[in-house]
């Protein structure tokens, strides 16, 4: 029985991380119709920034989050200015999605190899003094790093919700989503709105990177598997349905960790991806949205 509860706790912790990864992806895809498949690579980059801050100056990974956010936000602005903004001229939205997919694939190529040059192809991780220690709740071990990751994911989801629904900026974002032309006629600076959203999305990738480097590890080519899990969560939640992303992530985490009772542990990710394809075939609009 305790084993089951332990697995469930593990699933929630991992699932929250999946949700955190999908937040940035969902912001770009759901709102701006850019599919950024370099998101996983940006996560690795954020992890490396945190790793550097820890090894060079001894800054605790969780305290380095504000610095990582600033750095990744700037990188996001650069990404938008250099590669994504020319796509706005394309005639229809399907072309924008598929061309952004191709371009960010080129970004993966550039970043992967740049990171290999700078940090070598080794696996890097941050081992803080509390790494490996765990809170003991009625015989169930909850690692502190996992708990922190859960807290950060929930905070990030709530913050994004408030930004999108309670601020003028959020209003601009939603207006630009519904009809970019009409919004710009009403005085919304669509380019700037997109620019800042892209910065926020990359900053979210950076936060996920910090969580990953402090409880897992990062390596230059490790972004792809995290990216796939993020896309799975985004599709489960339904495109553009940002508030459902964290619950969808937790559901995926639970399914994935409970699948350990049925199949060997190393096939865990394969199971998650198969579930994803089945969901895509039968409920392409996601689990949390009504049809139409």
């Amino acid at each position: 029985m305790e084993g089951v509860i332990q697995t469930i706790v593990y699933g929630i912790v991992v699932g929250a991380l999946y949700g955190l990864i999908a937040l940035g992806l969902g912001l770009l895809m759901g709102i701006m119709k850019f599919l950024n498949i370099a998101h996983g690579t940006f996560i690795m980059l954020g992890g490396y920034v945190s790793f550097w801050l820890f090894t060079l100056w001894g800054i605790d990974p969780y305290l380095s989050i504000p610095l990582v956010i600033v750095a990744m936000f700037l990188i996001g602005l650069l990404l938008y200015k250099l590669t994504l903004s020319p796509l706005l001229k394309l005639p229809h939205i399907g072309m924008r999605i598929s061309n952004s997919l191709l371009i960010t694939f080129g970004v993966i190529y550039v970043l992967d190899n740049a990171m290999t040059l700078v940090w070598k192809a080794d696996v890097r991780t941050v081992i803080a003094s509390y790494r490996g220690e765990a809170l003991n709740l009625f015989g169930v071990r909850v690692p502190y790093t996992g708990l922190a990751g859960l807290g950060i994911a929930v905070l990030a989801a709530i913050a994004l919700y408030f930004i999108l629904s309670r601020t003028y900026f959020g209003k601009h974002v939603r207006a630009a989503t519904q009809d970019a032309e009409a919004a710009s006629l009403c005085g919304v600076n669509v380019q700037q709105t997109y620019l800042i959203s892209c910065g926020i999305a990359t900053a979210l990738a950076g936060i996920a990177g910090v969580v990953i480097v402090s409880s897992y590890s990062v390596m230059p080519t490790g972004g792809l598997s995290w990216l796939l899990m993020g896309i799975v969560v985004m599709v489960l939640a339904g495109e553009g349905n940002i508030n459902a992303i964290l619950p969808a992530g937790i559901i995926l985490g639970l399914v994935e960790s409970l699948s350990v009772f049925v199949v060997p542990i190393q096939y865990r990710q394969a199971i998650a991806l198969l579930i994803f394809i089945i969901v895509l075939m039968f409920r392409p609009q996601g689990l949390f949205t009504k049809r139409g």
Partner: protein
């Protein structure tokens, strides 16, 4: 009659290149380095033609090419190692990749647009994980094959399969099937309305594409006898490199994938020496620039360059010179 002569004139340069590829290794000694490069070039041409068929002509971005390639490599490797002649083994590798496409491709083709891309990427990852967990040890051909290794035979097999790939893509795109594929790419709904069974043609395109990718895998299995990590033949790089070759050469053309592959192989050869690992960064930047500014690739930019040259010639500066 006139069309035949016109075609003849168009075909002449490529005919000369093919003849040179066939004759040169017979009459002169070519270094092993160049020969291995040529074999890799042929594999890239096969893979990029395969990708071009589904991605360029049919407009379905397939990010799971590595699964079909890897399947071809594995099946050919094991069939060949039990003593089946290599030509048969390569063919079986291609057919098995086609079966894999029928099994995993049919569900993913129901996905529209970008979800097809994500679905195929996910399925290729599933294949990579499963294969990586099944074959944990190094896979190697029996020592007899290693001793009798001879690069020239790899070269000719690669050449023949590359010619087959180009020929198949040419025949397919110049048939009714090619017309239907173009209809799917340009406007799937309009195609459906006018009575084109778009799903059927997408499946056919995927099956042929997978068959070619499997043949490419077979050539690679013949070329490379030892696999340290079997999952490496399922690595996404086997999808990304051909995709890059197609995009750089020109989408939706027969010559594009070939020119793109040649371009990539030469570039990587030149820059791998001078820049080392960093040359891959250059590739990425080049790829982004091509997608942003030359959506028709090198082949399609020909008339752009001509226009530009004509403008230069007409300009005063040129006349002054």
């Amino acid at each position: 009659m006139s069309t035949i002569t016109a075609n003849w004139k168009k075909l002449l340069p490529s005919g000369i290149v093919v003849a040179a590829c066939i004759i040169l290794p017979m009459v002169m000694e070519i270094g092993t380095h160049i020969l291995s490069l040529m074999v890799m070039l042929f594999i890239y041409i096969i893979l990029s033609q395969s990708w071009s068929l589904i991605g360029g002509y049919t407009g379905q971005i397939n990010l799971g090419l590595a699964a079909f390639f890897g399947c071809g490599v594995l099946v050919t490797h094991f069939i060949w190692s039990i003593g089946v002649p290599i030509y048969l083994a390569v063919a079986i590798g291609g057919i098995s990749a086609m079966f894999l496409a029928a099994v995993i491709g049919l569900p993913t083709l129901r996905l529209k647009g970008v979800y097809f891309a994500i679905g195929t990427l996910a399925l290729a990852e599933v294949c990579r994980i499963v294969v990586g967990n099944t074959f944990t040890r190094m896979v190697q051909m029996p020592i007899y094959y290693v001793v009798n290794y001879n690069l020239i035979s790899r070269y000719y097999l690669g050449l023949v399969v590359a010619l087959i790939a180009v020929g198949v893509v040419y025949l397919v795109t110049n048939s009714k099937l090619g017309l239907a594929m173009a209809a799917v790419r340009d406007d799937e709904e309009a195609g459906q309305v006018t009575g084109v069974n778009t799903f059927k043609y997408k499946v056919l395109a995927l099956l042929i594409s997978a068959f070619l990718a499997g043949l490419g895998g077979g050539v690679y299995a013949f070329f490379q006898l030892t696999f340290q990590f079997v999952s490496s033949v399922f690595s996404p790089l086997w999808t990304f490199q051909p995709l890059m070759a197609v995009m750089i050469g020109g989408v939706g053309t027969l010559a594009g994938p070939i020119i793109g592959s040649v371009f990539l192989v030469i570039l990587s050869e030149v820059f791998a020496i001078t820049l080392g690992e960093a040359h891959l960064i250059l590739f990425g930047i080049l790829f982004i620039l091509v997608v942003l500014f030359f959506p028709y690739g090198l082949v399609g930019s020909e008339h752009k360059v001509r226009q530009w040259m004509a403008r230069v010639r007409r300009s005063r500066l040129w006349k002054a010179i």
